[in-house]
């Protein structure tokens, strides 16, 4: 069994100075989207933190979420967080395979019953008794139900585990379902995104480690610290939106000037995620900085929400006019616009509009 002593003890053993630890806590505060002044409180809490056992189950998924996670798993400051958890089962990352791997999962479930964190990526097929995805001869559904019993909490990593994602897109041939549809008696935290931002995954783990509890969640079970605002709320192109300056094609003058991508289908106004500030690839940037609108990947049913290139409010309303009015009239018009966005998204989800060549070539 792995040792589960305090972090302070482990860091001292590794010869890490107090100053380094304070730097680490400053990075943690930034990672958890807490005010920088909270670093000393984090230091005090973390010094006493114990290593929780983590079991990670992968179901109907593309491994993108694990790929994303391993981007924050190289020998870095953040990797200290992984020194702080005991990843007892992850069938892609672990060295063991076959019976030995399944045994390590069973041992962890037994040894840390009621205390381990269960991380899940991928949705769970439920049609025909769940036979569309099995591991070691057992259905995903069966494995999930068994592992959920002894879990302190479940973290659904990625839009598939959180909301069903691509496998659940129409016509949903496998009867895919998100974790929250199947498990009702455990706290579930949804870290949505396709994939989720790596530091958001580690940030949530860090929060659990530091404070021993799950962070505050929104109505869709997502941590508010990362999903409390929309991409649009924090988008650096927002001043252009407010001024009614929109790129009309991907290579026009507006696009070159970095104007708002709303008319090119940006789903930023209805998408809650931290991309605009936390960014991707070690902080290098996020899609809108590369000139492409947000796809809405962290929202339920985003695959069925119509073309990635059709504006949210089109074709039912004239966005230029509404946004211009919003800039003049302020909040009320902006609220009307976002209501139009939501209604449009809903109707697209219901009718399951498909992406056409015309959408990308206009």
């Amino acid at each position: 069994m792995k040792d589960h002593d305090t972090l302070e003890h482990r860091l001292t053993q590794q010869g890490i100075s107090r100053r380094s630890f304070l730097k680490f806590c400053t990075a943690m505060a930034s990672l958890m989207a807490l005010p920088p002044g909270t670093a000393p409180a984090i230091a005090a809490a973390l010094a006493q933190a114990k290593r929780p056992s983590v079991i990670w189950l992968s179901f109907q998924e593309c491994t993108g979420c694990t790929e994303s996670l391993t981007r924050s798993h190289s020998p870095t400051l953040e990797s200290l967080i992984f020194d702080m958890i005991s990843l007892d089962y992850h069938h892609t990352l672990q060295a063991a395979s076959g019976f030995a791997a399944e045994k390590s999962r069973e041992d962890a479930m037994k040894d840390f019953y009621g205390k381990y964190l269960l991380l899940v990526d991928g949705s769970i097929p439920t049609k025909d008794n769940g036979i569309y995805s099995t591991i070691a001869g057992r259905t995903n559904l069966d494995l999930l139900q068994e592992a959920a019993k002894g879990a302190a909490a479940i973290v659904a990593v990625g839009s598939c585990a959180a909301f069903g994602g691509l496998p659940m897109a129409k016509p949903n041939p496998t009867g895919a379902a998100p974790v929250s549809d199947l498990i009702k008696d455990k706290p579930i935290i949804n870290i949505s995104g396709c994939p989720p931002i790596p530091s958001v995954i580690t940030g949530v783990l860090a929060h659990y480690l530091t404070f021993g509890e799950l962070p505050a969640l929104d109505e869709l079970g997502r941590p508010k610290a990362f999903y409390g605002e929309t991409i649009h709320d924090r988008c650096y192109r927002r001043p252009f939106y407010d001024q009614g300056k929109f790129a009309k094609t991907f290579d026009d003058e507006g696009a070159r000037n970095g104007w708002c991508l709303y008319e090119l289908g940006c789903k930023g106004p209805t998408t809650h995620n931290a991309c605009a500030t936390t960014k991707w690839n070690g902080g290098a940037g996020f899609p809108i900085e590369a000139g492409h609108g947000c796809l809405g990947c962290s929202e339920p049913n985003f695959w069925d929400a119509g073309s990635f290139y059709t504006p949210l409010a089109a074709p039912t309303s004239n966005i230029g006019a509404i946004a211009g009015a919003a800039a003049l009239a302020g909040a009320a018009a902006a609220v009307a616009l976002s209501a139009a966005d939501r209604a449009k998204k809903k109707s697209l989800q219901q009718t399951h509009e498909k992406l056409t060549v015309k959408d990308i070539s206009n």
């Binding site: 100053r19 505060a29 650096y236 070690g282």
Partner: protein
């Protein structure tokens, strides 16, 4: 090759503005005013703010560099620069791979991370005494 090796060309950093930087500078001025009056230090997490590469460069130009520049080597490098406005510090922490893990504006006499820590001093003293006894 790491991401940092790919050169980023920022165009028109001097004359192009979408307004985010002037708002940030106004906030820094307010915090500095408060610090001078009450001694209450403050920090701004730049990673929590919307900023494109161009605006980040604009902020660098606007704050400039003052008299002090310090480097830390603590699980990756850190740069601590006093801007041309005394009391306004720019603290950038990197991990060992060179990614920025925290990027702060600190309003203080001296950023806390620069001061020696009691625990480290204790450990250092023990090492020094051991060296003398040798």
């Amino acid at each position: 090759m790491t991401l940092q090796d790919i050169a980023v060309k920022v165009e028109r950093a001097d004359d192009y503005s979408v307004g985010n930087i002037s708002a940030l500078l106004a906030e820094i001025a307010t915090l500095l005013e408060k610090f001078i009056a009450t001694g209450q230090s403050a920090e701004i997490d730049l990673k929590s703010l919307p900023m494109g590469a161009l605006e980040y460069e604009q902020l660098r130009l606007a704050l400039g560099q003052g008299e002090v520049a310090a480097n830390l080597e603590a699980i990756g490098p850190s740069e601590i620069i006093e801007t041309k406005y005394p009391g306004v510090w720019w603290v950038t922490h990197y991990n060992v791979e060179g990614d920025i893990v925290a990027d702060l504006i600190e309003i203080a006499n001296c950023p806390a991370i620069l001061t020696s820590q009691p625990q480290d001093m204790q450990a250092g003293l023990a090492r020094l005494q051991a060296a003398i006894e040798k």
